[in-house]
Symmetry: C2
């Protein structure tokens, strides 16, 4: 481990919201200061292709290739492959754009050559021009499973094919719980330089939870020497994007930053909440978690940078409360 | 074999020229009368995808999806995947259009599920709306290898990447020689209804030769009860399309229908030659091979149908000369 990467900041991220904060963090931190680790609980094989939706969301955002308007996939995307696939009567519930497909085909070939997802992701980042350390949470399979009122579903079946319509009963991370965390995650968690662990404003239940479920990760976090700070993905009683609020309600949690704090429990040293939720500051702090109130809605690059800076400044004031 | 398909005509085909005559044959024969068997010596795995260039050329032509102007691939094709792949620094010497890619992805997934190429091809034909029996020559690997003055090359490396520029020394069909012919080919060769075996105007050296090289095929053909007739791919000293003439010259053969007859030898009972080559009729017939002279250049659908009809009418006058 003598040549281990020793970042100052470890960011755990899922999809779009996480990707946005990662862009901000990459503006305010040097390449040698930041390790981004991305959820792979959504990963699946589809049409013979290895799909890593959250890894790609983060990479595309960092490369400036993401479609900001649609919120996922690549800007300038076309769908001719998909149209041809549909005419073949193949499943089209998971949209694969022509540009995006290059990523999947390239990655699949590399994985079939027995390269690790970590190596493939690092190389993909390099080829996309991303000068940041981005790693999958694990090189092992760690598929999230979803119990619903329509039975047990794979994550993508629940999330994309059925668009989260079934009522969520429980999430399962059995695979993650026996998956080894990726080297980059282990190195970052043990970095002597580590000053903050940031939970990006990603869905706590399906984007961050799989990372925390990885073998040994929670116990290392419980012993953390750097503060752990989250940015609330819930603002004004709603998720900025995606089904986090619906899932939260179905899981019986309060759809507010307070619900987020209760979800993470004593792992959380600080929570960044939006000014819309400022009134909750006292109740949250009563749980022992510090609060930073600021604008958290990232509409543009300046917003991302400002939120990243505010989050790191806030973290610098915190100590792990273990 | 009691439910074996019992065609009246077996057509052996390779790429574009073969595909054109297959379209003609499909116009003049019923679905229960024609078996098309396609070269797979060109097949290869590329970027983790199973590519069957000649099978696709035939299927696209029969489905009316082929790009007649470019001569290969699909009409209305786009190249956005390719552009994204190029930006990833992945190899782009083999052009994969966005529409075409749907075929490759679909086929690859099925092959990885251990379906045979025969089953996958039949299902693909059905999904593309092709109501004709189209089969690969074999379900086994049967890659053609090419000895050139630049060393031994895989077929696609020679044919596409180097565009046949190296001087051809010898073709190798070692894999084909130990590959089992596909069931459809065996059934057609033994069909009690068989009235003609047609070698389409495909490249004799790289499209037809691999089929003839398959384990046991040549000896069955030597015992044929139905006449074997070829349509010359060489007209006026040139190949209608592709490198057949260059290859023929490099292999030391006369670039004319006479060279074709000498190449096939006693396998050939009759050869259809173009009116441009009518003067060769006597020399060809002197070898023991009958000749039909007609227009063989297929510019439109009527040309394809007329050539197919002329070929079958000619075959009906022939007997196997074994």
């Amino acid at each position: 481990m003598s040549d281990a990467f020793q970042p100052k900041v470890l960011a755990l991220a899922g999809g779009v919201g996480g990707a946005k904060l990662c862009v901000g963090l990459s503006k305010v931190l040097g390449a040698d200061e930041l390790q981004i680790v991305v959820n792979t609980g959504d990963d699946f094989w589809h049409l013979g292709l290895a799909i890593s939706p959250d890894v790609d969301s983060v990479l595309y955002a960092l490369a400036g290739l993401n479609d900001a308007e649609r919120g996922w996939g690549r800007a300038g995307e076309t769908w001719n492959f998909m149209a041809a696939l549909e005419k073949l009567g193949a499943p089209t519930w998971f949209k694969l754009g022509d540009l995006d497909l290059a990523t999947h085909v390239w990655r699949t070939e590399r994985l079939l050559q027995a390269d690790t997802l970590s190596d493939v992701t690092a190389e993909l980042a390099r080829r996309l021009g991303v000068a940041r350390r981005v790693a999958p949470m694990s090189d092992d399979a760690a598929a999230t499973m979803v119990d619903t009122d329509e039975g047990r579903l794979t994550f993508q079946d629940y999330f994309v094919a059925r668009q989260c319509r079934p009522r969520l009963l429980r999430l399962h991370f059995e695979e993650a719980s026996i998956a080894e965390p990726a080297n980059a995650l282990v190195e970052a968690l043990h970095s002597p330089e580590l000053q903050a662990i940031v939970l990006c404003p990603s869905n706590p239940f399906v984007s961050i939870a799989p990372i925390l479920a990885l073998a040994g990760v929670r116990s290392v976090l419980e012993q953390r020497r750097a503060p752990l700070v989250a940015v609330s993905p819930i603002v004004g009683g709603q998720a900025i994007k995606g089904p986090a609020a619906k899932m939260m309600a179905e899981l019986g949690a309060e759809v507010s930053p307070l619900g987020i704090v209760r979800h993470y429990g004593t792992l959380l040293d600080g929570l960044v909440i939006d000014t819309q939720d400022a009134r909750l500051q006292r109740d949250i702090e009563a749980t022992g978690c510090k609060v930073q109130v600021c604008d958290t809605i990232m509409r543009n690059e300046a917003d991302k940078t400002a939120l990243a800076q505010a989050t790191l400044d806030f973290a610098a004031t915190l100590r792990p409360r273990r």
